[in-house]
C-alpha cells in the first residue's frame, strides 16, 4: 500500500485538524487497523479502545509523517501496534527474567488450522495470556523476530522465545481440545 495523492490530501487535511479529513482517514484504515487491535486484545471493546488511542496518536503526530520513508498504511499500523502493546503492558506485566535458548516445538496439524474460520482462530489466540498473545502476534502475524520483539516490549530475546513457545504449547492443547 503506497501513499498516493489522495493520501497526501488527507494528510494535509489532518495536519490542519480538519474533521472531515480525519474521518476519511479513519474510515479508510478502520478495517485493517481494527483487525490488528482485535488480535492483541480479548474483546471488541478493548479493541476499539486501542484503535481510538492509536488513531488519536496518528492525528496528533501526522505532521511528523514523512512520505518518502514509509507508506501511510505502514506508519499508521506501527502506531496502532505500539498502542496495542501499551495497552497490554498497562494491564499485565511481561515476564522479563526468563532466559531460554531452545524451545520445544510442539506438533500442530496445519490442515486442522486451515479448516478453521478466522473467528475460530481469533478465539484460540485470545485464550492465550496477554503477554504470550502479544509475542505470538508480533512473531507470527507481524513478522518481527525475537530481537525486535524484545526491543518493542522491553524484554529479553529469551523471554520472547519463551512466550512464543508457551503460545505454541497452549495452541496445541486448545486445538486438541477442539478436535476432541
Amino acid at each position: 500500500m503506497t501513499t498516493n495523492a489522495t493520501d497526501i490530501e488527507l494528510i494535509n487535511g489532518c495536519i490542519a485538524n480538519n474533521r472531515r479529513a480525519q474521518e476519511r482517514l479513519y474510515k479508510k484504515f478502520y478495517g485493517p487497523m481494527a483487525s490488528i487491535c482485535l488480535r492483541y486484545t480479548r474483546n471488541q471493546e478493548d479493541a476499539v479502545e486501542v484503535l481510538h488511542n492509536g488513531f488519536l496518536k496518528v492525528f496528533k503526530n501526522i505532521h511528523t509523517y514523512e512520505i518518502g520513508r514509509a507508506s501511510l498504511y505502514t506508519w499508521i499500523r506501527t502506531i496502532i501496534i505500539n498502542s496495542a502493546i501499551d495497552f497490554v503492558r498497562a494491564r499485565g506485566k511481561f515476564h522479563t527474567h526468563i532466559e531460554i535458548d531452545k524451545v520445544e516445538e510442539p506438533a500442530i496439524d496445519a490442515d486442522a488450522v486451515q479448516r478453521m474460520s478466522a473467528h475460530e482462530v481469533l478465539m484460540l489466540v485470545q485464550q492465550l495470556s496477554p503477554a504470550t498473545q502479544t509475542v505470538f502476534n508480533l512473531y507470527v502475524v507481524e513478522g518481527y523476530n525475537h530481537r525486535e520483539i524484545a526491543n518493542l516490549l522491553g524484554i529479553s530475546e529469551g523471554t520472547s522465545k519463551w512466550h512464543l513457545s508457551e503460545a505454541r504449547k497452549q495452541l496445541q492443547k486448545l486445538l486438541q481440545t477442539l478436535q476432541v
Binding site: N17, G31, A34, V48, A110, M116, V140
Partner: protein, 556 residues
C-alpha cells in the same frame, strides 16, 4: 530470523482476514468525541484559538480604552468629578486683567437679545428679570456685554431652555430686584443656595433641564463694584474646546474693597477674590454684589492650580465631548524595515530565493480608527512579510564517502520565512504626537527560503561541496513548522504631518518550530520575534480640519 511453522502461516492468514469489529460510522462518533476533547477545533467555550483570539483582542481593546481615557463616560458623569467644596481666593489672576484690558472696545451696550432673553422668564421670575432689564443701565453692565454674548453662545450650544435663561437673567439683576424674586437673596451664606422649583435637582435625575440649570447657575458671578469700574473682556485667545463645555463649578467673586484706582492700577492690583463652590447647586448672589458672567473663561484659566489638582476629574469631563467630536478614520501605507534580533541571521534572498530583495519592502495598507486625538485603533494587512530566523536544520542525511573515514552530509536549513500578518493594535498618546501601542498579530507562514548544503567531513576537516538556496512552502519541509501563530506586539511612533515613524516589536506566544531532525538529535524549538522600523503615511483622513496646517493627529 523469523521461522514459522506451516500452521502458523495459516494462522497468520486467518488472523489478517479478520472482519473489523463494530461499525466504522458508529465508532467514528466515539473517535470524534475524543478528538473534540484532545484536539478541539473551536466553536465552544474551550474551542482553542478561535475563542482565544477575539477574547484577547477584546481585552486589548478594553485595556486600550481604559488607559486611553474612558471616552465612553457620559458628559454628566464626567462633571461629577468636580464634586466637592473648594474655597479659593484668587488674587492677581490674569483672568480679570484680561477683562480690563481687552473688553471695553465698543461693547458698553448690552445686546438687545439680552432683554429678550430675560423677558422669557417664567412667572416666578418675570418681575425680577424685567426689573433687571429696566433698572440695569446698559452702560453699567460692561461686564455683561461680552459675557452675555458668550452666554448666548453657550445657551445656544447647550439648548438652554427659556426657563433656565430666565433663571440666568434673574441672577444678573440687582439686589433690589432680586429681593422680590422667587430666588430670594440673603446675606446669610447658608441661605444663599436655593433651588428653582421648576428645576429641582435630584442626584439621580439629571436631565437636560437640570444641566441647563447648572450651567445657568455657573454663570452667576457677583462683583461688588459697578461694572463700569471692572469691565469684562473675553481673552484674545480662543478657548479650548474641551474647556468650553465643561460643567463649571459655581463661582462667586467678591470684591474685597472698593477700588477707585484707574484701570492701569487695577491691572496691577488683585481685583477679585474668588470663592469657588463645587456643590453644584444653584447660586443666588448676595444683595450687595453685582453679578458678572465669567463663563467665557475656562476653569483652567480661572483656577490653574486647581485644574492641575483635579486633572483626572477635568479629563473625564472634557473627554466625553472630545470623544464624540474626534472620531475619524485614516487609511494609508506602511513601509516596514525588519532587523534581525538575537541569534537571528539576515539573509539577502527574496521569497523566491532570488537575489533581489526589493520585494521584501512592499508597503502594506493600514486603517486607523481614531476615537479621539489621543487614542486610535489600527489594523494592517502584511501580505508577505519576511521573518528573520536562526538557521534551523530541517533535514540531514549522512552518507559514507569514497574514502575511509569520510562522510558526506546532505543538510537542509531553513534560513528565512515569509508570513502573512494581520496585526490589530490600539495606540495612545502620552505626549504630543508621540504614540505608544499594543495589540495582537495573527501570523500565518506562507513560505520560506531553505539552504541545501552538501558537506564533506574527513578526519576532522569539513569542506562545503555545494550550497543552494531554494524556496519551500506547502511541502514536507514546511510541515515541520507551526504555520499559524499569534503574537503580542508593542509599538511606539512619532506622528508628524501625516507621517509616522516608529518601532514595532512582536513576539509569538508559541513555538514556530519544535521537532527532532532524527530520534537521536535534540529537540529544536524557537519562537518568532521581530523588530521593525517603519514609516507610515496616512493617504486619506476623513476628519475636517480647522486649519490647513492641521492634520488628524495634530489637533490635540
Amino acid at each position: 530470523m523469523n521461522l514459522k511453522h506451516p500452521y502458523e502461516k495459516h494462522l497468520a492468514e486467518k488472523l489478517v482476514q479478520l472482519p473489523p469489529p463494530g461499525d466504522p460510522d458508529q465508532n467514528w462518533q466515539q473517535m470524534k468525541a475524543m478528538l473534540d476533547e484532545d484536539m478541539p477545533r473551536g466553536g465552544g467555550l474551550l474551542g482553542g484559538y478561535r475563542w482565544m483570539i477575539p477574547a484577547v483582542i477584546i481585552l486589548a481593546i478594553g485595556s486600550g480604552i481604559w488607559f486611553g481615557g474612558r471616552q465612553f463616560l457620559p458628559m454628566n458623569q464626567g462633571s461629577e468629578s468636580m464634586a466637592g467644596t473648594i474655597n479659593k481666593t484668587q488674587n492677581n489672576k490674569p483672568a480679570d486683567l484680561t477683562i480690563s484690558n481687552q473688553k471695553t472696545t465698543g461693547q458698553t451696550v448690552l445686546p438687545e437679545n439680552n432683554t429678550a432673553v430675560t423677558t422669557t422668564v417664567p412667572d416666578a421670575n418675570t418681575a425680577t428679570t424685567e426689573t433687571v432689564t429696566s433698572e440695569t443701565n446698559q452702560k453699567e453692565l460692561v461686564a455683561g456685554a461680552t459675557a452675555n454674548d458668550a452666554q448666548k453662545e453657550f445657551t445656544r450650544s447647550t439648548d438652554l431652555p427659556e426657563n433656565d435663561q430666565g433663571a440666568l437673567a434673574a441672577n444678573t439683576g440687582k439686589p433690589k430686584a432680586q429681593s422680590s424674586s422667587n430666588n430670594k437673596i440673603n446675606t446669610d451664606r447658608k441661605k444663599l443656595y436655593t433651588k428653582n422649583k421648576s428645576n429641582k435637582r435630584t442626584p439621580n435625575s439629571r436631565n437636560k433641564n437640570n444641566e441647563a440649570t447648572e450651567i445657568a447657575s455657573i454663570k452667576s458671578i457677583n462683583v461688588a463694584e459697578p461694572v463700569m469700574e471692572e469691565p469684562a473682556a473675553i481673552p484674545a485667545e480662543e478657548e479650548e474646546e474641551e474647556n468650553r463645555f465643561v460643567s463649571l463649578p459655581t463661582v462667586r467673586l467678591h470684591k474685597p474693597s472698593v477700588r477707585t484706582a484707574p484701570k492701569a492700577a487695577m491691572v496691577k492690583e488683585s481685583p477679585v477674590d474668588i470663592i469657588v463652590d463645587y456643590t453644584g447647586t444653584t447660586l443666588i448672589m448676595p444683595a450687595d454684589v453685582l453679578q458678572k458672567n465669567y463663563t467665557h473663561l475656562s476653569p483652567v484659566q480661572l483656577f490653574p492650580d486647581l485644574a492641575v489638582r483635579n486633572k483626572s476629574g477635568r479629563r473625564k469631563s472634557g473627554r466625553s465631548y472630545e470623544a464624540r467630536s474626534g472620531r475619524a478614520i485614516a487609511i494609508g501605507l506602511s513601509l516596514p524595515l525588519g532587523f534581525p534580533l538575537g541569534d537571528q541571521e539576515p539573509l539577502a534572498f527574496n521569497r523566491q530565493a532570488g537575489a533581489n530583495t526589493i520585494s521584501d519592502y512592499i508597503p502594506s495598507p493600514h486603517v486607523q480608527y481614531h476615537l479621539n486625538n489621543r487614542t486610535y485603533f489600527q489594523t494592517q494587512v502584511q501580505l508577505s512579510q519576511p521573518q528573520f530566523i536562526r538557521p534551523i536544520l530541517l533535514y540531514q542525511q549522512k552518507m559514507p564517502g569514497s574514502q575511509a573515514n569520510t562522510f558526506i552530509y546532505n543538510s537542509i536549513y531553513a534560513r528565512k520565512l515569509y508570513y502573512f500578518n494581520l496585526p490589530v493594535s490600539v495606540y495612545h498618546s502620552p505626549l504630543r504626537n508621540f504614540y505608544m501601542g499594543t495589540g495582537l498579530q495573527f501570523s500565518s507562514m506562507l513560505s520560506g527560503v531553505a539552504l541545501t548544503e552538501q558537506r564533506r567531513v574527513s578526519a576532522g576537516d569539513e569542506y562545503i561541496m555545494n550550497q543552494t538556496y531554494s524556496r519551500f512552502g506547502n511541502d514536507s519541509l514546511s510541515r515541520r513548522f507551526n504555520n499559524n501563530e499569534v503574537r503580542l506586539l508593542v509599538d511606539m511612533n512619532y506622528y508628524w504631518n501625516r507621517f509616522m515613524v516608529g518601532l514595532q516589536y512582536n513576539q509569538a506566544f508559541n513555538n514556530y518550530v519544535s521537532f527532532q531532525v532524527n530520534p537521536t538529535s535534540p529537540y529544536i524549538f524557537d519562537k518568532n520575534k521581530s523588530l521593525q522600523f517603519y514609516l507610515r503615511y496616512n493617504i486619506w483622513e476623513d476628519r475636517k480640519r480647522k486649519r490647513k496646517s492641521e492634520t488628524l493627529l495634530s489637533l490635540k
